[in-house]
Symmetry: D2
Subunit: 290 residues, 4 copies
């Protein structure tokens, strides 16, 4: 089928390739002319037969303005899919605004990163059944082969919600391996730490794709000597904890993984300075001056 | 090669099958006569050509007494492998005691559970190179096919250490998925929670064997309605946290997963009763009487 | 000075008493006629000389509507103080709305609970210096005697912010004592748990007002046998964690205390059921059926 | 009464003063001759009338050897008190060894730090009733005036146990304040952070001696600019978490406070490097090279 695709960066560009390889006609638009198939959103819209489907794959910060501009060149009966990392709570208001113009809206959480073009992109989508049904050929082409890698999770917002939780879980998983790594690295007994991770890749309870990646990383740099502990977070981890707080879900593991990222970016911990100050006051404990 | 195998329960029995299928000659001994190939440890020893190798696969609580009895029927040059869930700190003293009789000792952390017979058992072993080398044909037969699933992690104790950390990581991984499950289950938006887990099985960052199992569990019981939250812990999680405390490793994630198991077994939280008592005292907050 | 006081419940009623005892003229209004000094907000306004100061002390859920009604009977130059448990982020919009009518706004976090009438109420206020200065006689009368118990923490919102953090810290403190209580209660060695808490009340690092209260509670019920662990949370703890997430502050302790309250209210932990399900799948571990 | 006192450092020296001020006869011994009242343990023993009581106040690392030497100069019927920071689990074996020589043993957890001489030392003691009774005049002199600050917590070991939990609770309390400090310091709204802490000192739920000390520290250095976050831990926090693990007590708060101290001493977090390595592998996320 035909698809408009707005945003042809690393993710969008690879998705275009995968869709075309599956026989779909993709008209891609990007601000950067050298990536773009057309000169404007209007031209893109003109090249698509109504009712149109347009997938937006731009950074979360510019999603709303992109969709606003896009809606101006679309018509009643068209559908917009947001495949970016939007916060789920932005989806319903966005769907309502589009609905006033007769345009449908589907939110799609997309996982797969740099590996997606080859392996397929896992898709978690939210929206009305009729909209999702119309888009199924596109979802089928993007998703990994086989029975997994796709869910229609619920109404508008449910796709980004499921992707948010996916990323929250990812934080927890990564940090569990990371704590295990640190303990092994500090152990006096274990002399082959990378070998231990390699041994875990088959036959164990902890085998996973993340473990495979950690093994690869240790192959390249067995003591991770080239890396800084400084680690960003991309929003979904925070939203996951916010939701846990809102819904009264005890979430010690994922929150701890998130907090560890925060701490990794501090040169100086104000909290620990307060602890040091207290120890100095009550015990005359030696503290380090800066 | 020949191997004595002491303990023919669920794990030991399956290992005997896998070893025999690989062409090894296994003389198994178990307290339960109907499982045993021989009538006594002495008979087992007699049937093995020196230098012997004997694998002990019994519950941790009886490992020491089993090894003591076994050593009495072995000779200088023989090797004992402990494949049970011993605490790593028991390995060095045990090796020393056996060493006084000229008997070698290798510790082997074994992962694989009920799936191991078919998929192979991941093995993390500790001991002297010469002992490990002699046992390699056995390790090769037990481990999964391919390059993964085995490590000689270091000297005596390193095998059980690596297995302990494996289990600690396992606690963290399981709880990360579990928190994600709870949030999805409470969300007002996500209407197909099992579908979300199914979608994660391909193309995502969180795909793993544990995720596959959780999907299976949700296939069988989509709301986990048949299960109690009461969850045991088997020692390795506690030892992992103990080691983190000893080696000054911040281990918030794995510790939180362990503490959550503790809490799952409490009918009544004394700590929360203390919190309730305080709220009643300072605020006249309504509290629940029993 | 004169003060209008809206809301004469447990907190507001006691504050009226404390203010009158300090010589201030308080005109109180409450929906419940038997508590009220006047029949309406309009009558209250009429009895106060301009420029007026009116303190609103109502549940957070009805603060906005109360202030809206109140503003209708006030004039340019008057000041409204919100002493309730508003979320700090509601203060700036509220101040702006009032500012359009020439009415000043001050937010006041109030601590003290049922003990405040006697000991004084600690006050954390936010607002413009001129507004705070005009209200100082009231603050002086409400606060505890001496140099502590009052701060002008910053512009509008800073008072409720400081109170929010106060409550977040309170969660952490309470839970630290609570964990200590549980460990002592489980210890095989300590035979006089209430005695230990009593011993801590003087000369120790952990002495505090909360500790005094816990000692009182243990005097009344040495094993806390009469209490349920079920514990509510009142909003400020959640907002504190939300702010930590927004500002990238690692907040493991306060978050853990909050999550423990969430858990205390669950009959059944969905997360632990997921853990139990996983254990059943991979290990054939015995799990409890409901 | 008479008391031998071994160890006249900061703690022991001040305790000697407090005891003498209360009218007791103290014969102090210390390795450092200029602090010591006598030239040897033997001379100390000779100057005390039987049955003797000797208080040992030396670093935990040398307590066992000190007690062994001391026991050689004592007789049946004498009592040794260990007032140092021994691990509770060392007490019972020590008591048994002394018991073989007819010497009694009492363990005393002592709190009070540099403030104890003036305010009194809180005492948590473990031992046989007859031994504790004989020492009561000494305990009375050391403890703070009034009904608090002393407990006979149980048999031998219970005193150090109670003190261990005291210190674990202390870790949690300190970190709760510290997290509150960090959030206030990062808030855009609160302009007077030290003022907020000062306001909390009266009339609030969080008032405590630790809060008073934090206020003092902020008076001296309002931004804690002179301090490093590097913070030691002294053993009791670790033992508390070890005990929680042993006794299956969920202890998220105190463990988090302990782990934060561990993290404060790391130049580089191996765990976070593992997280960074994973992000680099799966997402091509920019990571910082060292």
């Amino acid at each position: 089928m035909q698809l408009g695709l707005v945003g042809l960066g690393r993710m969008g560009g690879n998705m275009r390739e995968r869709l075309r390889a599956a026989g779909h006609e993709v008209i891609g638009y990007d601000n950067q002319a050298e990536l773009s198939d057309v000169a404007s959103l209007a031209e893109m819209a003109k090249k698509l037969d109504a009712p149109r489907a347009v997938w937006v794959m731009v950074p979360a910060a510019v999603t709303d303005e992109t969709i606003t501009k896009l809606a101006e060149v679309l018509d009643t009966g068209d559908i917009i899919v947001d495949g970016g990392n939007s916060r789920f709570s932005d989806d319903a208001p966005r769907a309502e605004r589009l609905n006033e113009r007769g345009i449908g809206y589907v939110d799609a959480g997309v996982s797969g990163g740099v590996w997606g073009r080859q392996n397929g992109y896992a898709l978690m989508v939210g929206g009305a059944k009729e909209h999702v049904d119309r888009l199924m050929p596109i979802f089928e082409a993007l998703k990994p082969a086989g029975e997994f890698g796709f869910v229609h999770a619920g109404p508008v917002g449910a796709g980004h919600y499921a992707k948010m939780v996916h990323n929250g879980v990812e934080y927890g998983l990564m940090h569990a391996y990371a704590e295990g790594y640190e303990l092994l690295a500090k152990s006096e007994l274990v002399t082959d730490v990378p070998g231990v991770f390699k041994s875990w890749r088959e036959g164990t309870v902890v085998r996973s794709w993340l473990l495979d990646l950690l093994d690869r990383a240790l192959d390249e740099d067995p003591k991770l000597a080239e890396l800084s502990p400084y680690t960003e977070d991309t929003g979904e981890g925070r939203w996951t904890v916010d939701e846990a707080v809102r819904l009264a879900v005890p979430m010690n593991v994922i929150a701890a993984a998130l907090f560890a990222r925060f701490a990794s970016r501090q040169d100086d911990s104000p909290a620990m300075k307060a602890v040091a100050a207290l120890r100095q006051q009550f015990g005359g404990h030696a503290v380090r001056k800066r």
